[in-house]
């Protein structure tokens, strides 16, 4: 059960988040120089090909929830790469000496203008790439733009504040090992076995600040499922936070450091698998971009919670009691899990195992509309009106299914849905996939 008072407190904390940021004092020229240095460094062959092959057809706007929600052409996805395109044309393209004569250099004003385009109005959902006739990975370019703006000290203050906290104190929203231990005790008080800091375990469970503060039922549900499956698992105080504000803000050093905490702990206990919580961006951060310090692949599996339960169900290790066949559920694919993660079939296996009336949205899976709150956009206060417009598309998509409940497997999406439903006074029921699965475990929890 979500404590709505805590949700309100969380919203209140976000409203003042920017005040906690400590912007670095950087001269204007230095900001531009730093941003350009990142752009040059990150323009590899793949990105250069993306930058050079755009034919300015504008189809990407058809796929973008921010453009569709506002009809403002400045949000056209490919335009968000224009600064990268200009720097590449002038400095690293085939005809750079000629292009330099006709291509304006980027300025501080450009960088400031692009802050809204790559943070507020892009969740790096990747839907634009699915429609692009040239196959351009716009989300990747936007992420490079975030890295450039981060280096230039031009990250939105809310993201800057949390990134600075995670880099400095190692906590997110003040949640550290003590707060985790407090929640673990609370769950143990409910009779749930929650191993913490076990020296050896096959599975390391990772949680996230949102689950610790707000969605504790999701953590409890995951624990109950792991216990039900008799898996040897543990949480680790020194590496429990899945949220990676390095990835979200564009701070690559922090991204690596945040991932390293998890990797080090998993290695220390000899984990064969790391299970991530219902957190969209945590998946690409560790599953697709995580690596050992020497650059080698991680020696353990990285699974999203929804991927894990779906796989257990598909492989016959986890059976659920039948649910209410008249209950109408639909599912929202978190972009980072589905379109850019491949976690598509497993959540559906879990949903079907619930024995309810499961209805797909249209479009769905890798073509699903983003809810508008991912990649840190949920935390940017000034972006709230924009986010709401984007969310309307999602809301209409959900309502068109006729389902009474929408199921999610990403806490950021869940927060955004809760806020969107609150603003729109929608009666939409919002549920966590992992919690629904745990509620239908075949025997009462005895742990």
């Amino acid at each position: 059960m979500i404590d709505m008072a805590v949700f309100k407190q969380f919203q209140g904390a976000i409203a003042h988040l920017g005040e906690m940021a400590k912007p670095e004092l950087i001269a204007d020229d230095e900001r531009v120089a730093r941003a350009k240095a990142v752009m040059r460094l990150k323009t590899d062959r793949a990105l250069a090909l993306d930058l050079e092959s755009c034919v300015n057809c504008g189809y990407c706007s058809e796929a973008c929830h921010f453009y569709q929600g506002t009809q403002d052409p400045k949000y056209t996805p490919t335009r968000k790469l224009d600064l990268l395109r200009r720097v590449h044309a002038r400095e690293s393209s085939a005809f750079a000496p000629i292009k330099r004569l006709f291509t304006r250099d980027i300025s501080l004003q450009d960088l400031q203008d692009w802050q809204e385009l790559v943070y507020d109005s892009c969740t790096e959902c990747g839907r634009c790439s699915m429609v692009c006739p040239m196959g351009i990975n716009i989300a990747r370019g936007v992420n490079v733009m975030r890295e450039a703006l981060s280096e230039a000290g031009l990250v939105p203050l809310e993201l800057m504040a949390v990134a600075q906290e995670q880099a400095g104190r190692g906590t997110v929203f003040g949640v550290g090992p003590a707060e985790l231990a407090h929640v673990v005790e609370a769950l143990r008080g409910q009779g749930i076995r929650v191993p913490l800091d076990e020296p050896r375990a096959d599975v390391m469970l990772v949680t996230t600040v949102i689950d610790v503060l707000l969605f504790q039922d999701a953590l409890a549900a995951t624990a109950r499922i792991l216990n039900h499956l008799n898996i040897n698992w543990t949480l680790r105080s020194a590496g429990f936070e899945a949220a990676n504000f390095g990835l979200l803000s564009g701070n690559e050093a922090l991204q690596k450091a945040a991932s390293k905490r998890l990797i080090d702990e998993a290695l220390a206990i000899g984990a064969k698998a790391v299970i991530l919580p219902e957190c969209g961006h945590a998946y690409p951060a560790l599953r697709w971009e995580g690596r050992l310090p020497d650059g080698k692949p991680l020696p353990f599996e990285v699974l999203a919670a929804s991927e894990f339960v779906g796989r257990e169900i598909r492989e016959g290790r986890l059976a659920l009691v039948a649910g209410d066949p008249n209950r109408k559920l639909t599912y929202h694919d978190a972009c980072k899990l589905a379109r850019h993660g491949g976690v598509i079939d497993e959540p559906r296996a879990a949903l079907r195992a619930l024995g309810v009336d499961f209805r797909e949205t249209s479009p769905t899976a890798e073509l699903n509309w983003c809810c508008g709150g991912g990649a840190g956009a949920f935390l940017i206060n000034r972006a709230a009106p924009l986010r709401q417009k984007a969310w309307q598309i999602k809301r209409e998509q959900i309502e068109a299914t006729g389902a009474d409940t929408v199921v999610l497997s990403c806490a950021s999406c869940r927060l955004n849905f809760m806020e969107g439903a609150e603003v729109a006074q929608s009666s939409m029921h919002i549920e966590s996939l992992i919690e629904l699965v745990a509620a239908q475990l075949p025997r009462p929890p005895s742990q």
Binding site: N56, P73, T76, T78, A94, F95, F102
Partner: protein
């Protein structure tokens, strides 16, 4: 030497040289940039053949995406197919290519060519209209778009201007009857060849590696590209 001699001789070879070296230089410049290999184990094996298949099937609009206005979706097909038919199917063009390369193939009927050329010109004008009026296209368009539109339009217009008789008659003449109009047509083609490596016409070569790259990114993650 008159204009046609120049157009068929030194200017043509100069334009072809710029075209070939320019395109090669574009690819060389890309190839010298560093690569960032994917380290994480793939969810699903995805070969280069898979990527090529996806790149080729991406020619068709994807089901499940909100459809663009019909004309916006349809028009590029008309343009690209029409242009290919005109360039590769018209008997005098085939004769021109045979003279340059020794390669030849059967021509399409003249009427098909006239209709294709007309459709191609109309579709290019429609594309230009969209670019000048659609808010998104106005916002993202560059000088490259306009120059490319112009240099693509010119060979079509000048080509139509020299079509005064059936292709069989044109090819039957021992000498070229309309030397200056044909020279202008060739100059317009040469302008296109010279512009090609510098602007968005390069997408004719870049689309394949670009699509394969995204297909591989998504495919190895287990996503239907």
């Amino acid at each position: 030497m008159d204009m046609l001699d120049w157009a068929r001789g030194p200017v043509l070879y100069a334009a072809l040289t710029v075209f070939v070296l320019g395109v090669a230089w574009r690819f060389f410049a890309l190839s010298r940039l560093p690569t960032t290999p994917a380290i994480a184990p793939a969810r699903k094996e995805f070969s280069r053949a898979d990527a090529l298949r996806v790149a080729l099937t991406r020619m068709w609009p994807r089901k499940g995406l909100r459809g663009s206005a019909t004309l916006v979706t349809f028009n590029p097909y008309v343009f690209h197919i029409g242009l290919a038919l005109v360039f590769l199917g018209y008997a005098p063009h085939i004769a021109f290519i045979r003279r340059l390369t020794g390669l030849g193939w059967p021509a399409l009927p003249d009427m098909v060519m006239y209709l294709s050329a007309a459709a191609t010109i109309v579709s290019l004008l429609i594309a230009l209209m969209f670019r000048l009026t659609d808010p998104v296209l106005k916002k993202i368009s560059s000088a490259d778009d306009m120059v490319t539109c112009l240099v693509t339009m010119l060979p079509l217009i000048t080509g139509m201007a020299v079509v005064g008789e059936p292709s069989s008659s044109i090819l039957a003449h021992k000498v070229v009857l309309y030397r200056d109009p044909l020279a202008i047509h060739l100059f317009s083609l040469e302008l296109l060849l010279v512009w090609f490596p510098f602007g968005k016409l390069m997408h004719a070569f870049l689309f394949l590696p670009g699509r394969m790259q995204l297909a591989t990114f998504l495919g190895r993650r287990g996503v239907q590209p």
